[in-house]
Structures are given as structure tokens and as C-alpha cells.
Symmetry: C2
Subunit: 244 residues, 2 copies
């Protein structure tokens, strides 16, 4: 099965959670919107599915995945689909629900990270909502990041199989996503993370272990991994990283 | 199976999406936090699971559901679990993924509705973030609600089985959630909805059809259905309903 991933070119964004799963799973995939329109790929191919009036199951927004006849949207839903196929979830229903629950909580954290620089409207520039961003980021760095990190640190600490993975004794897509969140938060809020990381050693260890996995390490050092940048979900504005 | 639903008492909130599924499915359930603490229920029972240090799969926040040995958090994840058990999803995987995708998009809309009155921090009062709320609500009523409604209207219009349900030819939990969103938006943004509803007749018809289903009608007229109010996710502040 050759998967087709559709996501905005030029950023990691929410597409990165899917890329990490595809890479770790050794999947055959095409990152469609980053390829040339001359080959029938690129942005035109993505917009055709996003805006086509005859798409029966239209995605509301990227990322979305084409797998044979299926067109699947919503990041967590794509991972729900890929998990069993890429060997990134437990075998039992209870275990899969728990992984999905963790993923949805990670998704909430990612949305809040986005809203620190866009608290009013995604359609406006950061500079046009900067006063509001300063207030929202203050709450995010002082209250919300600590709350989320403490939660996931506790999940690791309580895993009956040890604190190597968020659940069970093997890697799931939630571990890959957790790696991405730690990396993103470090990029966007380095001072805040420097202050908080001593309180979440298990999460730091999880981040490092994921980064060291052969397929992930190869991916991260390849051109397929786009760098963090200032158009992305995680953005570094020094004035928003006001950790006390 | 007797299900135990845990959610903040006094509001519909995100718990309502689960309640509607349980009610339509004719499930045996207890709304734990609304019951008396004298019987071992109430808020103490909820806080014990939310804050207990020995809970292996802790929820990050309500709602969560106890089903036998399982403790399941995240609204959409609870519905993913309940869907097949309450006959509220199609039988095939593709159909179930599509219903879940719709639910996750509804969840995004609900989060944005919440953030109109709390754009800075959930921990602050509305009055302490009112200037920001005015700006965010302006974008929500002028750009975001229309975009979401147009999307779901198109989903109904494109359903190969007709426009009675969001997908297929029978009710799913996404239809129940869509009903709740329309009801909530009408409560919070009556002027905006009055302007927009002529453009989404299929969604209005879906709302009415769900409200008329025998079990839902019985639920809505019972004391189990709490009224919308100003502590809830959907809140009516006249100044935020500034539709042009």
C-alpha cells in the first residue's frame, strides 16, 4: 500500500505527527503537496481534494491521507487508522483506546500552543494580535504547559510496564507524537522548557529515545524533515517565552 | 452493562455529547457527579478518579466514562467506544472512521465556540478577557461559524444515501453531536444563526429530526437535560453576537 499524505508544504505542522508514524512504520508514502505539480502532485492535487465538490468524505482541513479508496482527515483519526497497520498500537481494544485518548490530549496541547501566537484569528497576522498573544502565552507558559507536562510525566510514571513508553512495553504513535511536542515546545519556548524539564525527566528521556530510533534518526537527518520555522504551529517569539 | 459518566455538574458542556449517545442508545447509565455524595457518588467520586495517584489511565479532564474495568477519557474517544455498542455507527471500518472524523471536526468547532468567551485563559473570568473576547467572537461569527456550517451542509448534501443523516442511511453519534452544536450555537449566537440558517437548510432539518426522535424528545423534556447557561461551553453574551 502506497499512502498519500496531503499537508501544507513548508511546515511540519500537524502533518508531522502523521509523517513520524509513517517513517517509524517504514511505510511507502508520498508527501503529495511537497512534490511537483508537473507530475500531477503538488498543491493543485491537494486543493482538488480539499475543495472538489464531488468529494463524498471531504476533509475540513489538512492533513489528510489517501489509502486506496479511503480519504481520511483529522490527525488523530489518521493515526487511529494507521496504528494497527504500522504496528504502532497494542493489539487489544482497551490499549488502542488509551493510545487514542493520549493522542487527543496531545492534540489539545498542540491547539493551545498554536493559539498562543494566534489567540484572535488564524486569518490575521501575529503582529495584529500581539497584545492578546502576550496575555495568552503568559497563561500557557505559566499554567498550561506545566499542567500538560505533569500529566504526561505521571502517565509514564504509572505505566505498569515501566516508564520507557507512555503505555505498554513497546512504541505507539502517542510516543512519537509526544516526542514531536517536546521538540516543538523546546523550539517555541526554550526558556520555559529549560525551567520545566527538570520536573519531567521521563518525558525528556522519551524524547531522546524516540530521536535515537534508527528510522526516526534517519528521518530527522534527511531533507524530508523540514526545520521548525515561523510559519508553523510551534513558533518562537522571544516575547511570548516569558517564563518566571 | 451499566455505564458511569463523569462530568462537571450544572452544565451540559462536553459531557452532553456523551449523554445524547447514551440516551439515544437506551443505555443504562449513571451521571455520577450529579448524584449525591452520600451514596458514594457526586463530585468526590469524580475527583477521586481525576486526581487519584494510582489511576493507571488517568483522564486529563472530564468527561470520562467508566465501563467495567475501562476508564475512557476524551469526548470523541468515548463516542468511538460507545458507537458500536449503542448501534450508532456503520458496521464497516471506513464508515466508522468517517463518523469519527466528523466528530473531531465538531470538537474543533466546540473548542472555538468556548474560546470566544475565554480567548486568553480558562482560569480567568469572562469580564477579565472581554476586549479579547469581542475580537475573537467577531471572527468566529463572521468567518468561522459560516465555514463550519457550510462544510457540514456540504457533507449532508453529498451523502449518497440522501441528506437525512451526515453519513449513510441511519443515525450516528455525529448526527447527535451536530444537533447539540446547532442548539448550542442558537443559544449563544441567536442573531448570527438567524442570519446563517437560511443557507444551511439541511442542518436545520437534521437538528429538528434529532430533536423529534422519541428517546431524544423524552430526554430533552426530562430533568436529566440541564438547560444551557452562562457557565457552559456555549454562552450567550449579547455583545459577542455581533452579526453584520
Amino acid at each position: 500500500m502506497r499512502y498519500e499524505l496531503y499537508y501544507w508544504p513548508g511546515i511540519q505542522g500537524r502533518g508531522e505527527f502523521v509523517r513520524l508514524a509513517l517513517e517509524e512504520g517504514g511505510a511507502d508514502y508520498v508527501d503529495v503537496a511537497r512534490r511537483s505539480a508537473r507530475n500531477g502532485l503538488g498543491m493543485p492535487a491537494m486543493m482538488k481534494l480539499l475543495e472538489g465538490e464531488h468529494v463524498v468524505c471531504p476533509p475540513f482541513a489538512p492533513p489528510f491521507l489517501r489509502a486506496g479508496d479511503l480519504l481520511i482527515g483529522q490527525t488523530a483519526n489518521i493515526l487511529l487508522f494507521l496504528g494497527p497497520r504500522l504496528n504502532l498500537v497494542p493489539k487489544d481494544e482497551a490499549g488502542r483506546l488509551w493510545v487514542h485518548q493520549l493522542q487527543l490530549t496531545i492534540a489539545d496541547l498542540v491547539s493551545e500552543a498554536h493559539d498562543t501566537h494566534h489567540p484572535i484569528a488564524s486569518s490575521l497576522y501575529y503582529k495584529d494580535q500581539k497584545p492578546e498573544a502576550l496575555r495568552r502565552a503568559a497563561d500557557f507558559t505559566q499554567a498550561r504547559i506545566p499542567k500538560f507536562l505533569a500529566y504526561f510525566e505521571a502517565v509514564l510514571a504509572r505505566n505498569p510496564h515501566g516508564d520507557t513508553f507512555l503505555t505498554g512495553d513497546s512504541l505507539t504513535y502517542a510516543d512519537l507524537s509526544m516526542f514531536q511536542v517536546i521538540a516543538g515546545l523546546r523550539y517555541a519556548f526554550p526558556r520555559t522548557m529549560k525551567r520545566l524539564e527538570p520536573d519531567c525527566p521521563r518525558l525528556v528521556a522519551l524524547h531522546d529515545a524516540v530521536a535515537d530510533r534508527p528510522r526516526i534518526a534517519a528521518y530527522l537527518s534527511s531533507a524530508r524533515r523540514q526545520p521548525f520555522n515561523q510559519e508553523d504551529v510551534f513558533r518562537h517569539y522571544k516575547e511570548l517565552d516569558v517564563s518566571s
